[in-house]
């Protein structure tokens, strides 16, 4: 048996509830949560969709660390056969293990995380395809961050997000850096303006918890450093 403590409650508060779940081979943490909901506590709230690490919806705090529960084997994280599951940090709780992701994606919008085609500001299909050599430095920098699926693990792992309520956070800034490096994008200047300052990349102290915890191996900390560097040289009229 696995001894599982699950945080239960809502925005007004809550606490840990204890469950015993049968141990099985190759069991994931998501399997454990699903077992509790199906067999023990039908009103347990949690979120998942794909179960294979594509959708980014099942992230929770497992034994103190934010992780994808679908891609985390119990055998890898259980301590003395025990699991402690909490909702993602730094986000409002809706109920139990389900957090409200709206403040997270609002930050993406504030960081101008949407692609704005340079060739067709009105959204029309351009006549020609943009030619972007995959080996070019800018494309490589964009590729480094583009696989983000918005799971919120970096956001939940970042202390600056916890300390600075206005901070855009690692995911939104990583998205901004990806687009800053996209040569087809036409909103570079506005985006750089949006991510500058105490609520933006300059709030980051490079604790690198985002980079350390990203399940996709993305380096948001490095992306934020890139934004700082680009903004710094822009002060002197050097845009690189």
């Amino acid at each position: 048996m696995i001894e599982v403590q699950v945080w239960r409650g809502d925005a007004s508060g809550g606490g840990l509830a204890r469950y015993a779940v049968p141990a099985r081979a190759n069991q994931t943490v998501l399997d454990v949560v699903t077992h509790i909901q199906r067999e023990i506590e039908p009103d347990l709230a949690y979120r998942f969709a794909c179960r294979v690490g594509m959708c980014g919806s099942c992230a929770m705090v497992v034994n103190g660390r934010a992780r994808w529960t679908c891609r985390t084997h119990v055998s890898k994280v259980a301590q003395d056969g025990k699991l402690e599951l909490r909702p993602l940090s730094n986000l409002p709780v809706i109920r139990d293990l389900a957090t409200d992701m709206a403040p997270f994606f609002d930050r993406w919008a504030r960081a101008r995380g949407q692609f704005q085609p340079k060739d067709s500001a009105d959204g029309a299909v351009p006549d020609e395809f943009a030619v972007v050599p995959p080996a070019s430095a800018k494309r490589q920098a964009a590729d480094a961050g583009i696989e983000c699926i918005g799971c919120g693990v970096c956001h939940a792992s970042c202390d600056i997000v916890a300390w600075n309520p206005d901070y855009l956070g690692p995911a939104a800034l990583n998205r901004a850096w990806t687009l800053v490096n996209d040569v087809r994008d036409g909103a570079r200047r506005e985006r750089l303006d949006a991510v500058a300052g105490d609520a933006g990349c300059h709030a980051c102290h490079s604790t690198q918890s985002c980079t350390e915890r990203c399940p996709k191996g993305i380096d948001p900390s490095g992306a934020i450093a890139g934004l700082k560097r680009t903004l710094f040289w822009r002060v002197f009229g050097l845009d690189r």
């Binding site: 792992s157 918890s209 350390e212 380096d219 900390s221």
Partner: protein
């Protein structure tokens, strides 16, 4: 403030951040004190000498050693941050954290050897 959970923060770059922040905090608080001490010179060499003899106390010598280590740690950690932000040195960050710790300890040891 609730005591922070160490589990999500257990990696070298976080430790480097904490050392950098706490050393910076202590150094910033020490700076006015340092300037005040040096300002004894305005009242002449004797005043400064009097103050310096007062700092010969073993407790203050230990505090001075700690300050030298803090300064070296903050310097090395700061060079690491500059390397990350301006040169984009990402892959070698863990090596740089270790090197920073080495520089800080080395400076402390040298101070002790010289002051002894």
């Amino acid at each position: 403030m609730r005591a922070p959970d160490p589990r999500p923060r257990s990696h070298p770059a976080y430790l480097a951040f904490l050392v950098h922040r706490l050393s910076g905090l202590l150094l910033a608080l020490f700076l006015p004190l340092h300037f005040w001490a040096l300002s004894h010179a305005i009242r002449g060499e004797a005043a400064l000498e009097g103050f310096l003899r007062w700092t010969d106390h073993p407790l203050l010598k230990a505090a001075e050693t700690a300050l030298v280590v803090l300064l070296a740690a903050h310097l090395a950690g700061g060079l690491r941050v500059l390397a990350l932000e301006f040169l984009g040195w990402r892959a070698q960050q863990k090596t740089l954290v270790a090197a920073s710790a080495g520089v800080a300890l080395g400076a402390g040891l040298l101070f002790l050897l010289n002051a002894g």
